[in-house]
């Protein structure tokens, strides 16, 4: 959904991973790094893509990104833990470990759009989502007039949500 309008709806109601892939195709993206990302990063990346793809590059360079989530990187933590929990089959995965930090999604968005502004990731309980999204830009002290991408996202197992706002 963007600005209250449904842009894409999947017939697949169960597989989150497949849903994210469908959105990728819907957006006609050609960005193979997408497939190396974890679920949280894919979710945030796609949400940002909807909002930022039409923006001129100059506007993006010093955009600020402030995101919040509730489950942190738990979805990836669980994946990583699988690679180290068996003493007999102990093969920690470096590519999964990279995503056991919730702020990597910001890094992925920044890399994609060449963004060098302020950025931070907050861990908040779900009930604080609306309050977070309503927080004015100057709370984060942007002394210059730069656009800001605020968002709440969360991904754990079959439950996922992303709500992003672009503020000028």
């Amino acid at each position: 959904m963007k600005d209250g309008v449904v842009l894409f709806e999947s017939t697949n109601k169960t597989d989150a991973n497949l849903f994210l892939k469908e959105i990728y195709k819907f957006l006609e993206l050609n960005y193979l790094k997408f497939f190396k990302m974890d679920h949280l990063s894919k979710l945030g990346f796609l949400a940002a893509e909807f909002l930022l793809k039409e923006m001129p590059k100059e506007n993006l360079e010093f955009m600020n990104i402030y995101l919040a989530c509730s489950s942190s990187s738990l979805d990836s933590d669980i994946e990583y833990q699988k690679t180290i929990r068996d003493k007999e089959s102990y093969f920690p995965s470096p590519s999964v470990f990279v995503y056991t930090l919730p702020n990597i999604v910001i890094g992925e968005i920044a890399i994609r759009f060449g963004i060098h502004g302020n950025n931070s990731m907050f861990i908040i309980p779900p009930y604080q989502k609306d309050e977070f999204l309503k927080t004015p830009n100057h709370f984060f002290q942007d002394t210059t007039i730069n656009p800001q991408l605020s968002g709440y996202l969360d991904y754990l197992g079959d439950h996922y949500k992303a709500e992003f706002i672009l503020k000028y």
Partner: protein
């Protein structure tokens, strides 16, 4: 004139000791806290780490909780450090209505989840520890043991978390949203991230050698540190003398790679520039840089290049990760407190284990502690995975009246 952000209290727990005094003592004597892995049941016993040399049992006694209390190590370290800061700032008697608590952490209560994971699967004996796992829960738990807060939140931006907590706290003070704020971070060592960094092959087999040509990577550490910050106006009102001021800060995205820093250090240059701009200082005013200096091939080169680009004459610089190890989410605060101790007591902390200059850089770090050295401003760099670059500038408190 804008109200200055003042630091009125600080607390620190790390491999160097459980408070500021032990920390200062070790810094002056060049005694590193890096050593063997203790208290953690890991197969990687040979990897050196900067552990806080206090077992959980003793930590519980020190913070005054019952031995049967279900509590994470990250929380215990956090309470110990925050309390030291609160006591120094005489915060309890300040009569403030709105105090905030902003803490940086990534592991939260994970070390308990690791310990009891199999129990969770097979029995219900340790289920109480499950709810501690969450980062947010950890922050709330620390806060609960400290007092009532108007505002409490967790920042999780990897190794720059605590530094970003300091920035948010300062912003909220400037907006008049809080009377005072306690900011910093806490992180304990876990098998999870020890294994993780090991699989990225960025752990040094020996103690880290920041900015050395033969550096082999990171030495992990654990610890917690917090600052009490309030406006100068509030300090005047309750007649408390600030330790120093936070005169500038900056944050930027490097936008290069998920874990590696750009070769030209773009994000680092931006964060340092923003901090200088806010402080109104010139690069030549900075008397000391406490670098992020992890000891990896990548960071030290990228950060070194960024510093060389921005500073025509690079000031004295060291990475005190050679003393404490890399305390990850707490690093920004641990190393800030170390630097404030150094500025207040007029010495420059050494960059231990350094012997050979990096050929790509035109500077060397401080090799041994330099005593009786006064400086008025220092810069603290804190760079996290995800390309999150933060720089803070602190200055000696000089009364403008």
């Amino acid at each position: 004139m804008a109200d200055r952000i003042c630091i009125t209290g600080m607390g620190i727990v790390s491999a160097l000791g459980e408070n500021k005094y032990e920390t200062e003592d070790k810094l002056l004597k060049e005694k590193s806290g890096i050593g063997k892995l203790v208290y953690l049941n890991s197969i990687h016993k040979e990897i050196p780490v900067g552990m806080v040399k206090i077992p959980d049992q003793k930590l519980k006694s020190k913070v005054g909780v019952d031995q049967n209390t279900i509590i994470a190590r990250t929380t215990l370290l956090g309470i110990l450090a925050a309390r030291e800061a609160i006591i120094q700032a005489k915060l309890l008697g300040a009569g403030y209505k709105k105090i905030g608590f902003i803490s940086g952490t990534t592991v939260g209560g994970m070390e308990k989840s690791e310990q009891y994971y199999l129990d969770f699967l097979h029995n219900d004996k340790h289920n109480e520890y499950i709810s501690l796992h969450d980062c947010g829960a950890c922050t709330e738990d620390i806060a609960k043991h400290l007092g009532n807060f108007e505002f409490c939140t967790t920042i999780s931006t990897a190794c720059s978390s605590a530094a970003n907590a300091i920035i948010l706290g300062a912003n909220m003070l400037k907006l008049g949203l809080l009377d005072a704020v306690i900011v910093g971070g806490s992180e304990c060592i876990t098998k999870f991230h020890l294994n993780g960094f090991n699989t990225l092959m960025i752990l040094d087999k020996g103690p880290c050698k920041p900015f050395d040509a033969n550096r082999g990577g990171i030495t992990l550490g654990e610890g917690a540190a917090y600052l009490v910050m309030e406006t100068e106006q509030n300090c005047d009102l309750r007649q408390i003398k600030p330790l120093c001021t936070l005169s500038g800060y900056g944050n930027a995205c490097d936008a290069f790679h998920q874990t590696a820093s750009s070769p030209d250090g773009k994000g680092a240059i931006l964060s340092m520039q923003k901090a200088l701009e806010m402080s109104g200082l010139e690069p030549s005013d900075i008397g000391y840089i406490n670098a992020h200096g992890t000891g990896t091939q990548n960071n030290d080169l990228s950060e070194g290049v960024a510093i060389s680009t921005l500073f025509e004459k690079v000031p004295p610089i060291s990475s005190t990760k050679s003393f404490t190890g890399h305390t990850t989410s707490a690093a920004g605060a641990v190393e800030t407190v170390i630097s404030i101790i150094a500025m207040t007591h007029n010495f420059l902390p050494a960059n231990l284990n350094f012997s050979e200059k990096m050929e790509e850089l035109n500077f060397e770090p401080i090799k041994t502690t330099i005593k009786n050295y006064s400086f008025d401003h220092f810069m603290k760099n804190s760079f996290g995975f995800g390309g999150n670059n933060t720089s803070l500038i602190f200055s000696k408190y000089k009364n403008n009246n």
